[in-house]
Amino acid sequence: MSQPQLQAGFANPVEDSQQAFRHLLKVMSEPGVIRPLAAATALDTLTPATFSACQTLLDATTTLWLGGALDTETVRANLGFHSGCRIVVDPAAADFVLARAGELPELMTLRAGTAEYPDRSCTLLVQVEALATTATEQATALRLSGPGIATSRQLGVTGLDTRLTRYLVERPHPFPLGLDLVLLAQDQVAAIPRTTRVEVN
């Protein structure tokens, strides 16, 4: 059996993670805004955006649940090498969940925080096909409103599944509990935090 191939991460870790974080902060504070995110190269099944987000957010103090097609030996070895994050088997123990939309674990089993500490909740890193501000044929067209959005904003996501869409629309976790969603396309990022009201057009 061959050893998984280690691959270079950020060329300038300090600067690249800062730049990537500012894009993440922008999209999380203004839901539906699409920002470029491609400081790293692609890693096996992970897109440049996903690998950049992982290097920015994960370290030895965070736990990650990795599932479905994204879960390969190469990805595990590289994320372990670059971030030192612990990869967990139980999704309920994860700070971050990384998967494609259709391969997410049961969302109601994930940590949604407590009434006193709603920040102790899971962040979903979902790798999708494409993000767009206008509706395309394959994309799920979402209409977002809430904090961070002046009136409303359109977001077209290719690669959402019905289960995740239903979660976003119905928000079964009562606020302030909830899951925050980061959508990672090829080289772009958008986010939908728990405060955003989502309608499907």
Partner: protein
Amino acid sequence: MSAPATRAGYNFAYLDEQTKGMIRRALLKAVAIPGYQVPFGGREMPMPYGWGTGGMQVSAAIIGRDDCLKVIDQGADDTTNAVSIRAFFRDLTGVATTERTEQATLIQTRHRIPETPLHEDQILVYQVPIPEPLRFIEPSEVETRKMHALEDYGVMHIKLYEDIAQFGHIATSYAYPVRVNGRYVMDPSPIPKFDNPKMDHSPALQLFGAGREKRIYAVPPYTEVRSLDFADHPFEVQRWDQCCAICGATDSFLDEVILDDQGGHTFICSDTDYCRTRLARQEEKA
């Protein structure tokens, strides 16, 4: 490949990368739950608590090479706290600094919001001494956490009501409590209540750092920020009969300046950049 002339032996922006990562994750949760105080592992900074260590840690976690930094202390760019924090970041990051509000991408502030309206993609970082608005009423963190969880904020209105009973009006003039997005009651840091309306639906991102208390909280852009009040005692901001003695502004927050020991005094803008910009514009016209 590395950042321009910064002090040798230090990481970019002083903090180590793991600390920045921890603060960054706290910031993402803070913007996802507007007004909620996220605990974080506050580090010792090379200055004492009370001088803005919380704000500095937030700034250090987000600042980058392309930023243009402005630091104000009570509205002024040229006071000790502002000058030393600006010098700190210039030394340890090499980023551009400015005194002009509209040029800055990142503004760290102690107790004021600039008079010039902020725009999108600007970030305002507040230095916060006591992040918990309920702390003066309830000293226990366990209890205040529970009060936030249950939205049990009646006691906050009692505090304001006691003002009315005693003085006939709400006498709280700074650190005036606000409700964010209809949910969390939040301490806006000791800004004068004159600045509270600027927080409501601001196009800029507002981040709050409390170093001693180790809390981070945030208000995303375009978020409702309502100052608490009563139907028969609506929220009001300070007003002055005077205008600024330097630029003549009637719409800015004024500081009283004592001129002599005979009781002579005058009023000037607290926001030095606003005052200077107005003055320059008047001289251009003349």
